[in-house]
Amino acid sequence: MTMSFGKKLVFYLLLAVSALLLFAPAIVAFLMSFMSSQDILTGKILPETWTLENYIKAFERFPLFGYLMNSLIVSLLIMIGQLLLSSLAAYAFVFLEFKGRDTLFFIFIATMMIPFEASIIPNFQTIRELNLLNTYTGMSLPFFAVAFGTFLLRQHFKQIPKELKEASEISGMGDFTFYLTVVLPVAKTSLVTLGVYGFLTSWNMYLWPLLATTDDTVRTVQIGLKQLQSQEQLNEWGVIMAGGLIVVLPTLILLFLGQKKLQKGLTEGAIK
């Protein structure tokens, strides 16, 4: 569609202002992470001299690298777990017909309404009882089964023509093989969507890793950041911000790479 120059200008203006406002906190953090404490305490906006000091300190004070690795492992575990369980469940809900299927699906969906936080106490006790505190399993296992993922994949699977399944039935292919060799490859995009989404949300988890870890060797980066912040008593804001940026960098990159797919995949799953 054609758009007049004036209209374009208005839009660019709106876009630019919104972007600036929205990104300001991140920009502030970015600038501060390169400032000396002196600059910060005197309320400078731009660093007088750009220094990497804060980043070095952040890594020195805290095993940030280890934390990053832990976050990565936990997020990947959750991601894979979710993909696997959700796709299996979604497959059953779309391609298999059996008694009680719809009731079960309703129950699955209803679990979306149970706030994890509301049942955090028994969950914590369970994990403690199973002796899984301070383990990757303990941090990730409770999140493997998610109704949202099942729901999202179900919506996508439903778009796979039913005839594919029927054709494979006629040629004598079993369900599991069909799931592996047809459904998963065909629904690749939606798996990526769920994967990115699952990864982002688990990377950003806060309360659970806070409870489930006591040990630096398995702590995730979010908790590390919180500690960095509560430990830097005299407001070494530069170091804290440097830590913050280190923490968000991987997810931002992932988000920017997967943005388009994510947006498409999420809406499709969400609405229909």
């Binding site: 955090i120 089964a145 309360l207 994510l262």
Partner: protein
């Protein structure tokens, strides 16, 4: 002769029934096998804890959470007479009231302006969705600084403009608002992404048709965009609502529930009650209440909202 012909037919009849039954059973088993991992995990980490929480809510516990004394509904009585919990409920509802409409309106605005076909729009979309990649911990740290009473940019700006500095996180009149602002910011990315997706799936022909009819920008927004977006809006409202009730991280990092319990949202209150005051019983009672609130709100939303939503 006739009978002889009939016989095999009868056999096949009986056979068929049996075969069908067997097939039904194998189908059921197969379905269950696919669902089993999910069902087990749901049971262990969702259904059992729900039941357990309910159970705990009738007891007092020791420091490690083991039950000691059965007290019936006392825990519920206690929390409903406790001004702290009532305050916490009030704050939670206020918080929801601030953040949900705030997030939706702002992201809707962003999604609308980012939906235009302009050069470089991808960059703006990236920026607008960026907060989805910024974790609660990091976002809280960013905002903690912005809210800093002396160094914070917000107060510096206010002072530069000749206004009084505000105790963003210490003034009980402001704390909840400040936390809400930072929460809205954190939620924008996700909501924006979903709404943008919703906008993009609106058939562009509808706009072209309206264009030919001479409809103005705002007319199109009001009469095409918003109604067509209603299912998406409904979805994000539901999700935002549930999320808002479950807020924890930013509270823990920004205010720890203070000042004067102004920001002591329900999940934080549960956490404190359980893990700082070691009163798992009352904490569980609060969790039960939270569950019912969310259930009720969601059902209410479905009841009221569904009607206004237009599905294709």
């Amino acid at each position: 002769m006739k009978e002889a012909v009939m016989m095999p037919d009868q056999y096949t009849q009986i056979d068929l029934m049996k075969v069908k039954k067997k097939q039904r059973r194998t189908r059921f088993i197969k379905g269950m096998l696919f669902l089993l991992p999910s069902i087990i995990l749901f049971s262990v980490f969702l259904f059992y804890p729900m039941a357990r929480t309910l159970y705990l809510s009738f007891f007092l516990t020791d420091n490690s959470g083991a039950t000691t004394v059965f007290v019936g509904f006392d825990n519920f009585k206690n929390i409903f007479t406790s001004p702290i919990f009532l305050k916490s409920l009030q704050s939670t509802f206020l918080f929801v009231l601030y953040t949900v409409p705030g997030t939706i309106l702002i992201s809707l605005f962003l999604a609308v302006i980012a939906n235009e076909k302009l050069r470089g729009i991808g960059f703006f979309r990236m920026i607008f969705s960026s907060t989805m990649g910024i974790s609660v911990a990091a976002a809280s740290v960013f905002w903690m600084f912005l809210f800093h009473p002396t160094l914070g940019w917000l107060n510096q700006l206010l002072e530069a403009l000749g206004f009084e500095a505000i105790g963003w996180l210490t003034d009980p009149d402001w704390a909840l608002i400040s936390v809400s602002i930072s929460t809205i910011w954190m939620n924008l990315g996700f909501t924006f992404l979903i709404l943008l997706g919703g906008l993009q799936s609106i058939d562009s022909h509808l706009y072209e048709s309206a264009e030919i009819d001479g409809a103005s920008y705002l007319y199109k927004l009001r009469h095409i965009t918003i109604p067509m977006l209603s299912p998406t809006l409904f979805f994000v409202i539901t999700v935002s609502l549930i999320n808002a009730f479950q807020t924890f991280g930013q509270i823990d990092m920004l205010t720890r529930g203070g000042p004067q319990n102004e920001t002591n949202l329900i999940v934080y209150s549960i956490y404190q009650e359980a893990f700082e005051n070691y009163r798992y019983g009352t904490a569980s009672a609060q969790a039960v209440i939270l569950f019912f609130i969310i259930l009720f709100m969601t059902l209410l939303q479905f009841k009221l909202g569904e009607r206004k939503v237009h599905y294709q």
